[in-house]
């Protein structure tokens, strides 16, 4: 078997005395998607932030393409260049046009020429049906469009791994689908991803593996069918029941 893109080994993270992640281990093979589900506060965002090195872990290690990115001498900027992350709150740069949001990192980080960066950005905007928004400022776009721009921005640097943190949670229900279909397209094109989501139907569609996170621990993991349709742990059953009652299944 080839080396996984991401390998997380017994990671632990606490804020003060509160343990937020405990003994987290999993690996993500290339071209696959691992989906984390779990109630709010279970540690999903913290896990993604740790992978992105926006937060420091307390124990364990994280490997990207076999390289320990949590080593003391790891080059943080270089690691982040290989990772894309999309946040719940979009975090587009409000003072830049859509096209400049997308071309900033390719130009400044990868040193791609302005023409090439713009051409690539326009291609991506085209592909996701946003070509007419290139010259707009983010606040002129709907939430769904903003989130799609945020996704395009993070894949414009051709990351090895894409991290998506509840990217539809801040959106109107009618806008959720356009964002999810963008992610489905990326999956089909072979993007390797780690996602946190509350959209179970979507998890079933894109996930190769689903992990149920409960109070900072992976309680149960397996294929989407195993976890979402035949969960073994009482906590997983309880969680899915609550999600189901909220009408998200």
């Amino acid at each position: 078997m080839t080396q996984p893109v991401l390998k997380v080994n017994q990671v632990r993270k606490s804020y003060g005395s509160e343990v937020v992640l405990e003994d987290i281990s999993f690996s993500v093979p290339v071209h696959t998607a691992t989906v984390f589900i779990g109630s709010s506060g279970s540690g999903k965002s913290t896990l993604l932030r740790c992978i992105n090195l926006l937060d420091q872990i307390d124990d364990g290690s994280i490997e990207l393409d076999g390289e320990d990115i949590t080593a003391v001498d790891a080059d943080v900027d270089k690691v982040r260049r290989k990772l894309g992350i999309v946040f719940q709150s979009f975090n587009l740069f409000p003072h830049m046009r859509v096209i400049d949001n997308i071309t900033l990192a390719p130009m400044k980080v990868q040193g791609i020429s302005k023409e090439d960066a713009r051409e690539n950005a326009n291609k991506l905007l085209d592909r996701f049906g946003l070509h007419d928004k290139a010259e707009d400022y983010p606040d002129r776009l709907s939430g769904g469009q903003q989130q799609r721009v945020a996704i395009i921005r993070s894949i414009a640097v051709a990351p090895r791994l894409l991290l998506l943190d509840e990217i539809t949670s801040a959106l109107d229900p009618v806008l959720v689908n356009e964002v999810l279909s963008t992610v489905r397209d990326l999956k089909i094109e072979g993007m390797t991803m780690v996602l946190a989501t509350h959209e179970m139907g979507f998890a079933k569609q894109v996930a190769d593996e689903v992990c149920f996170l409960h109070r900072g621990k992976i309680l149960e993991w397996g294929t989407p069918t195993q976890i979402l349709e035949a969960p073994q742990q009482p906590e997983t059953k309880e969680f899915l029941k609550r999600v189901h009652e909220a009408g998200r299944l």
Binding site: N52, R80, N91, F93, H95, L104, A105, D139, S154
Partner: protein, 303 residues
């Protein structure tokens, strides 16, 4: 009344249930409402004009009819004499202008540097952070006049070779020292208002600390603090007049010389008018910028 607007619409879409943009005429209700609004606006304008005339006219009348008015106008508003000394005052004002240009440039550079040092978290900068904090605290808390006296008379008193005795340079230095402290705080507050998620987004794209500042944080911070920075610029222009106490021949000093010769205060009024000619437009501009920036912030709901 078939108007231009009516012609733009597709009038042959007769089958459509709604005729958007078609031949729309306001209803009687709307016509009445508009008439009522117009009448109200007219009445408000009339009240505003009338009350202005009464208040301002009344004040003018009180001033002009007061027993001291004759001597007052002779001492402060001797226009013929004012015009005579005007060239000297304008020449002096040139000093204020160049002092403003040089000082504001320096203040911008140093203020930004200090703001960046104070908002950085790099351990290597720790001593500079402490120095910057002390500097800002001290010079925001001292009257500029004192700084001016200390620098303008204190430095020459040291009699150190190579140090300048040029009052213009020393005056500029005092202005820069004082205003850098104010401006650094304004810029720092601007940097602090940018939500950390913006920096996180920049860093996660692989931008370095410096690049995140340069392309993401600072452009947004400056947009927010433009109005207070313009306020400080207006204040700085006025305060350049204080360097006259060091003997710099600026507009204030020129007026002082003229008036001490004639025992007439019209030169001061002339100098005041010249300052106003610059500061009032700038103040109006600042107001407009502030209003725009508030509108923009209200329009942008999403962080």
């Amino acid at each position: 009344m078939s108007n231009e607007l009516g012609r733009q619409s597709e009038s042959d879409s007769g089958a459509a249930p709604y005729n958007f943009g078609g031949e729309w005429k306001p209803s009687q209700l709307e016509i009445d409402r508009r008439a009522a609004r117009k009448a109200r606006n007219r009445r408000n304008a009339a009240i505003a004009i009338l009350s202005s005339i009464v208040v301002i006219g009344g004040l003018a009348l009180v001033a002009v009819t007061s027993p001291g008015w004759k001597s007052l106008s002779d001492t402060f508003f001797a226009w013929a004499y004012g015009v005579e000394v005007l060239p000297k005052i304008i020449l002096g004002f040139g000093t204020n202008v160049s002092l403003t240009l040089i000082a504001s440039t320096c203040v911008g550079i140093f203020g930004l540097s200090i703001a960046l040092i104070r908002t950085s978290r790099s351990p290597a900068l720790a001593p500079f952070r402490i120095l910057a904090t002390v500097y800002v605290d001290v010079f925001r808390g001292i009257p500029m006049l004192l700084v001016l006296l200390l620098v303008g008379f204190g430095i020459p008193a040291l009699r150190i070779k190579g140090l300048t005795n040029n009052v213009l340079i020393l005056g500029t230095l005092a202005v820069v020292i004082t205003y850098t402290a104010y401006v650094a705080e304004v810029i720092r507050s601007g940097i602090l208002t940018i939500h950390p998620s913006q920096r996180a987004a920049a860093r996660s794209l692989g931008l370095s600390h410096f690049q995140s500042l340069r392309y993401v944080v600072l452009p947004q911070a400056f947009r927010r603090v433009t109005p207070p920075l313009l306020n400080d610029l207006v204040a700085l222009i006025k305060d350049t007049g204080l360097v006259s106490i060091l003997g710099v021949t600026d507009a204030v000093r020129a007026a002082q010389i003229a008036s001490s010769r004639s025992f007439n205060y019209t030169p001061y009024v002339m100098a005041a008018i010249i300052f106003l000619l610059v500061t009032i437009p700038l103040t109006r501009f600042t107001d407009r910028t502030l209003r725009r920036s508030i509108e923009r912030q209200n329009a942008t709901g999403v962080a």
